[in-house]
Subunit: 309 residues, 2 copies
Amino acid sequence: MTDEIHELIIVGGGPAGLAAGIYAARDGLDCLLLEKGMAGGQIVVTAEVANYPGFPEPLAGMELARRMEEQARAFGLRIAEEAVTGLVPEGRSILLRTAAGERRARAVIVATGASYRRIGVPGEERLAGRGVSYCGTCDGPLFAGGRVVVVGGGDTAVEEALFIARFASSVTVVHRRDSLRAGRHLRRRASAEPKIAFAWNTVVREILGGEKVQGVIAEDVASDRRREIPCDGVFVFVGTMPNTGFLEGAVALDDRGYVVTDIRMRTSVPGVFAAGDVRADSVRQVASSVGDGVTALLEAECHLAGLEG
Amino acid sequence: MTDEIHELIIVGGGPAGLAAGIYAARDGLDCLLLEKGMAGGQIVVTAEVANYPGFPEPLAGMELARRMEEQARAFGLRIAEEAVTGLVPEGRSILLRTAAGERRARAVIVATGASYRRIGVPGEERLAGRGVSYCGTCDGPLFAGGRVVVVGGGDTAVEEALFIARFASSVTVVHRRDSLRAGRHLRRRASAEPKIAFAWNTVVREILGGEKVQGVIAEDVASDRRREIPCDGVFVFVGTMPNTGFLEGAVALDDRGYVVTDIRMRTSVPGVFAAGDVRADSVRQVASSVGDGVTALLEAECHLAGLEG
């Protein structure tokens, strides 16, 4: 493993990484994709993808991920299950520290995506998996007939609240502002759903429960008044954090930790590109991630051609 | 038509415009897509799309376009056949001059793509459609058993040469440089195809023929020596020109006429966005175009929210 220098290593197997991998494999690059878990990224936990262009009928996120992986493998892409823990630029190549040792490549595409953000209140960590969840698609059906609190007001929060409302008897959306940030289509659907109620200008201060969630302490942001909302489940959708810990000190990140790129997906390090949810300014859609992945790959090929010539 | 102000008008119905339209219609925007001809853009003349993520089996460009259009229409997108001839910023709205009169919108997404570039030699215009073609996928089968000259050395030229070689008895690729610009995968395939020969460091100076193409005058760029290459067809793949004539003087273009955008697809005019092949720095793939379209649409929604709030 140590002496070989690949032409390209793609870090992350979500839509951005797989899109880059499809092109890399088809172009015959010596390319390896490293994925710490299961290929597919966040879409594997998305119940239904309706807006990825080319599919008039909605399909499960898992199925879309499977199709992309199959396409990449059919062109010959090699995928290894291996977490990357560090990146060191070495002039004409890039060193990656991984769970299995070290790997080197002439070019690297970072497509590690983003993870769910926590609200950081008492009870949240202790009750995770005991009523506290970050994925409605995964855990919504567990709360059939139950009362659920959803924290957040963006697209994801509202999409997931609508999904959870298929199962739960009631969904209370707790949002710190007086209106939703979610798009109009989602706002309308949520307002029309009788199972969904809203607690505006409200934050969750604590999650209550012993073995299982029993409620939350909610606080009005204007009056500071607190009240208890009894519930069986708490779903937290307050944004994401980029998976960029392994890049710190090596590649320029913005103040929230996302990788800064130019319009060609080039980072501050020559030969290192970023694509998908991990980069600053991404709109975090499957379509934009595959676009990023393809752009990053074609720019990586230019970089390789420059090294050769 | 004159007094109504749409929330959004999308100009162009290729992958970028349709992707924006899918999102716009699903979000319930008051949106109209204007397309001067048939929806689908350049992919409708692409025989086979193998690298659009999500399709492990290659599909015809025409079929992919049809699927995107069906998806957009299923969400309720309105599409009108109407050429746009001018754009005038008017503060809080944008005026579009069209073949049918005038239209106004709060936001505009320009997704008009690019067209084939001509080489500009004697005989080219006169013999267009009489042996001179810009689309191998469309016209390749017309030259079954014939001798064909292909002009160009990029991805498109080589892809099309390979396609034409399925039908023609011989294909001579005339290229002004001493090596192909096309990607490695394509270079390898072309080198392995016995029907394809290369004329390096060579340009076409004239296309010969009366009623039909009979040959070309080729010139060696080093020695200036000329020779005739007899042939039945000439396919020209020397790049594309952006369809931005209607934007001149209104929106910032680069020196080749492509629309300049930032990473969020914003142009120099607030409320006007650009997506796909028409923008500077696009890598001109279906995947990157749909990514652009979705990004432009979500930025347009931010712009609309800003006008409201």
